[in-house]
């Protein structure tokens, strides 16, 4: 058994999804192989499906749904169905604190699986996924990723979720400091970031 990990973040090489995937690989008891989905490698990735019992899709929530990167890959996979159909699991993260904001995107993956005869496996939904790995709460995410990997290797598919154990108000404060510090790295002040103008108008 081997797990094929596919990163469908539009910024895969520098993504949080990459970090989540590498934690998964570190703790997974079976061999894993990892690939970024790019605009040009869809067919190559479709061909990998023949050799795996399990696929883990790792991606962010984008505009309340799956990112275009994953949507477009699904469309190619649908047109080029592999003979072997691995079980598809999901590790999704979103920026907001409520992990349930990921639910609609997960339903889209499940629908894709149903329409194309893939079995759906496990899912881990992460809230506050932009920042959780940079905080002391990292351990909570790591623990759930371990559980996710165990559920896949044991074929006891299940659903897991994790977010920062903060009140929403505390989360708003923490995220405000987080974004101010990112702006400051580009010499942009909080006031500049708060502009109400769009395209300078």
């Amino acid at each position: 058994m081997e797990v094929l990990i596919l990163n469908a973040s539009p910024r895969a090489p520098k993504s949080n999804s990459k970090k989540y995937a590498s934690i998964f690989s570190k703790y997974c008891k079976v061999k894993t192989s990892y690939h970024n989905i790019s605009k040009t490698n869809h067919l190559e990735i479709c061909s990998y499906f023949e050799n795996y019992s399990d696929v883990l899709l790792v991606f962010p929530l984008y505009a309340d749904a799956i990112p275009v990167t994953l949507l477009n890959f699904f469309k190619t996979l649908e047109k080029n169905p592999p003979e072997n159909k691995p079980t598809v699991s999901v590790l999704i993260n979103c920026g907001f604190i409520e992990h349930y904001q990921n639910d609609v995107a997960i339903k889209m993956v499940k629908l894709f699986c149903k329409e194309n005869s893939f079995k759906f496996g496990s899912v881990l939904k992460i809230g506050s996924g932009e920042a959780i790995l940079e905080t002391p709460f990292k351990i909570l995410a790591v623990n759930k990723i371990k559980k996710l990997s165990k559920s896949i290797t044991n074929k006891k598919y299940a659903e897991f979720k994790v977010t920062m154990p903060l009140t929403k108000n505390m989360f708003v404060k923490a995220s405000t400091s987080y974004w101010i510090s990112l702006g400051n790295k580009n010499s942009i002040t909080k006031e500049q970031m708060e502009t109400m103008k769009i395209e300078d108008k």
């Binding site: 539009p10 907001f96 942009i188 970031m193």
Partner: protein
């Protein structure tokens, strides 16, 4: 201002200057790469200077909008979804509590009455997912109210005309 944003050309005549019609399929719009430049480098402006930068100011300005999109896996299909992802410059990085959940603060974005015409041959299940999607969008995209209309590709033209006819000038 009223906006019609479509993922395919529509055969509609619009005399009213209040209405802006944009056919996304005629524009060059690449996908968001998640750099957050629009929040932390050039706030309010996307660093990718393609046609999307001409569209999101209209999304922000409109108080009445009509999205016309094909649906795939319960999601807006590629053309519309690509544009919606590219529209995050109209929000700030900063988060607030809105309707009891965490969401971004909007820049100068008018509250909207939104109509979404979703076309294609959708299963019951797919419609349910799409409805949930729009319900989530409503919190993030400043929808004051919204209405979803499902239709087939064949009836699309007529459906759009009916909706636009309801707009009082």
């Amino acid at each position: 201002m009223k906006l019609i944003l479509s993922d395919k050309p529509l055969n509609i005549s619009i005399e009213n200057k209040e209405i802006k019609y944009i056919d996304l399929s005629s524009l060059k719009i690449t996908n968001c790469v998640g750099c957050f430049g629009c929040w932390t480098k050039t706030p309010g402006k996307c660093v990718i200077r393609d046609d999307a930068t001409k569209v999101y100011p209209y999304i922000a300005k409109s108080d009445t909008l009509l999205y016309v999109s094909h649906v795939k896996y319960g999601c807006y299909d590629t053309i519309m979804k690509t544009m919606l992802e590219r529209a995050i410059p109209i929000q700030q990085a900063f988060i607030r509590i809105h309707n009891g959940e965490t969401h971004h603060i909007q820049r100068d974005v008018a509250p909207k009455k939104a109509t979404i015409i979703a076309y294609g041959s959708l299963s019951k299940e797919e419609k349910v997912i799409f409805k949930e999607l729009v319900s989530r969008n409503s919190h993030n995209m400043n929808f004051e109210s919204y209405n979803i209309i499902f239709t087939s590709e064949e009836n699309l033209q007529k459906t759009v005309q009916n909706e636009v006819a309801k707009w009082k000038y």
